[in-house]
């Protein structure tokens, strides 16, 4: 278990390095735009080359990348923003809590909503509840989140004036963004819970439990639920990633000061260091969350835990046992 944990933790920096390289490569393709956007309307080629040199964009991509990594790892410095000429980290750091809070709230609500719905749909398969939930989930899954957000904004904020439109200053401001994120998430999660539960309900041990004469309630709660919900922990990880990806759009619609809206703002102004920093922060958060979820899964499920007991040790034990027997 410890070995697995350490292995997973060591993997993360490597993953982030590769992701950074990938993003860096693609961003460097647009360096000409970035430079011309910073220059005034009328500029000479000389201005262009001077600025390119000043920003360090005239060096080969791989050198730029190595420099960037060095600065980030050794100095914790994400560089200077092309647009504001201030340190990137200051602007990014302020925005992390909003995004984290948003992603966390929506993930928890998604799971809290998805599990009971999925379990009910599975236990009462083919009932009217199951069918309705299925249809509703299918429809919700086909609506793009940002359009859903616009429609809610139009109805509740603009026409009915019940809720505020933009910002995050009061809890009331969070209602609409959370709804737009949670509904599609819960629809997705519910379908996963349902299929996992259905798998379990058809397993032999559930049949055994039934034939023992255990009540339906006991069968569902003790045998099916426990086994059916375990894999849902891993899915919760991808729900979190989904929510984090969703913030990019939702934060934009509701003008929330988070990482997502910063990424888009930076991309539109071709602010390469800012894009890098925001994207890497989002990737880091996802990676850490995935790690936590995988580990908790391994801790909770005894079957997974057993696979991490190294083969060598179990062989040794067996060897000893046979020796003693002899």
């Amino acid at each position: 278990m410890l070995k697995y944990t350490i292995k997973r933790i060591i993997m993360i920096p490597f993953m982030l390095l590769v992701i950074a390289l990938l993003i860096f490569f693609f961003l460097s393709l647009s360096k000409a735009d970035a430079i011309t956007q910073m220059l005034p309307q009328q500029y000479s080629p000389e201005d262009y080359y001077n600025l390119q040199h000043e920003l360090g964009l005239d060096r080969p991509v791989i050198v730029q990348y190595a420099n960037w990594v060095w600065d980030v790892v050794v100095h914790g410095d994400f560089g200077m923003s092309f647009k504001t000429r201030g340190p990137v980290w200051k602007e990014i750091g302020d925005r992390i809590p909003t995004t984290l809070k948003f992603a966390a709230i929506t993930t928890v609500l998604t799971v809290a909503l998805g599990i009971p719905m999925g379990v009910i749909a599975a236990v009462k398969q083919y009932s009217w509840i199951d069918e309705t939930l299925n249809v509703v989930c299918k429809i919700i899954g086909s609506i793009p989140a940002f359009w859903f957000a616009l429609v809610l904004l139009l109805i509740f904020s603009m026409k009915l004036k019940w809720l505020p439109t933009y910002g995050v200053s009061t809890p009331k401001h969070w209602i609409l963004p959370v709804i737009t994120q949670v509904l599609p998430g819960a629809a997705f999660y519910m379908r996963q819970v349902r299929s996992s539960m259905l798998d379990c309900i058809r397993k032999d041990y559930v049949r055994t439990a039934r034939s023992k004469g255990a009540s339906e309630r006991t069968v569902i709660y003790r045998d099916a639920l426990r086994n059916g919900l375990l894999p849902m922990i891993t899915i919760a990880g991808s729900v979190f990633a989904m929510m984090l990806g969703g913030t990019v759009v939702i934060e934009n619609v509701f003008a929330m000061p988070g990482l997502g809206s910063k990424v888009v703002e930076a991309i539109n102004s071709k602010d390469i260091p800012m894009i890098m920093a925001a994207a890497i922060m989002l990737a880091t958060i996802t990676c850490l969350m995935m790690l936590l979820i995988d580990l908790s899964y391994a801790l909770v499920d005894p079957r997974i835990k057993a696979t991490f007991v190294s083969v060598k040790r179990s062989k040794k034990v067996k060897h000893r046992v046979t020796k003693e027997a002899a």
Partner: protein, 303 residues
């Protein structure tokens, strides 16, 4: 009596003629009302994309601005039945041409990602060992970041345009396809016929395209069908935040973005492209689900 003999005849016929999986799937699809309705809707959308140029010539309808028609509401002037946007461009024409862009990118990126994902998955399944490990590590890395962030970064690097978008969405989507296909391809790669083909000296390409892929085709088709709608939504999302298609070309996401400013007084500017988007993705998704049920009746009702 007549009934029995008819069914006997049918049985005889089917025993004489080997039923292909495609025909079997079609037979199951035909039996379901929902499948036929959604298929009709999908065909309708495709038809709109095809006839866009004939109904609304691109230059004169979708792009040209007419100040006198600014913000014309729908269903008031029947020659502009879906109304006009803030620049006096016909909404109907822009929706029709937007369908083209959406389908082109949605299907194109799904197809490309699926193809690359399948080839990678087959390499994993056939070679195993180190090749498998390396490919799966890369896939792990790609899938550790939300799809949209990769697409965003690639889009901002490559710039606006249809092919740039296709590339961005393809790279973002490869990981999920590779995982799905690999899980099936590995079990197929251990079948006797693959082994015997290897023993006979079949090349990797031969085994991949003659044995592996035909046997996992159903998974590939199901994956593709369920992915197209998602990709269409991603295109719209990227365009909505200003990264997708260059402005004069009509695209649903950028139309929604333009409608944002006028949403309060002219809600149709948000509703018309939105409904087109939801209709398209809903019909493709529903047909995809029906297709999955038809391919594997055992799976029906699950997942």
């Amino acid at each position: 009596m007549a009934k029995i003999s008819a069914s006997e005849k049918a049985a005889k016929k089917s025993s004489l003629k080997r039923n292909s999986q495609g025909r079997e799937v079609w037979r199951r699809l035909r039996g379901r009302k929902l499948a036929m309705i959604s298929l009709g809707a999908v065909i309708f959308v495709v038809l709109i994309a095809v006839i866009a140029d004939f109904v609304y010539p691109y230059k004169t309808w979708a792009i040209e601005q007419q100040a006198s028609l600014k913000l014309l509401k729908p269903f008031q002037d029947w020659s502009h039945w879906l109304g006009c946007d803030h620049l006096g461009r016909d909404m109907g024409a822009r929706i029709f041409h937007g369908t083209r862009v959406a389908l082109l990118i949605g299907i194109g990126s799904t197809f490309l990602a699926l193809f690359l994902g399948t080839v990678l998955a087959c390499i994993c399944a056939l070679y195993g060992g180190k090749a498998d490990l390396i490919i799966m590590r890369i896939i792990d890395i790609l899938s550790s970041v939300p799809h949209i962030i990769i697409s965003l970064a690639i889009c901002s690097g490559l710039g606006n345009g249809i092919w740039q978008l296709v590339t961005a969405i393809t790279i973002g989507g490869i990981s999920i396809h590779t995982r799905m296909v690999r899980s099936v391809a590995i079990s197929v790669a251990q079948m006797e016929y693959v082994e015997s083909s290897m023993a006979l000296g079949g090349s990797a390409g031969h085994i991949m395209f003659k044995h592996l892929i035909p046997n996992i085709m159903s998974i590939i088709i199901i994956q593709g069908a369920s992915n197209i709608a998602g990709n269409i939504l991603i295109v719209a999302t990227l365009s909505f935040i200003g990264l997708g298609i260059k402005p004069p070309r009509p695209e649903w996401g950028s139309m929604l973005n333009e409608g944002l400013t006028y949403m309060m007084r002219y809600p149709f500017m948000v509703f018309v492209p939105g409904i087109a988007l939801v209709f398209t993705s809903l019909s493709i998704n529903t047909f995809g689900d029906c297709l999955r049920d038809a391919f594997d009746p055992q799976l029906k009702g699950k997942a």
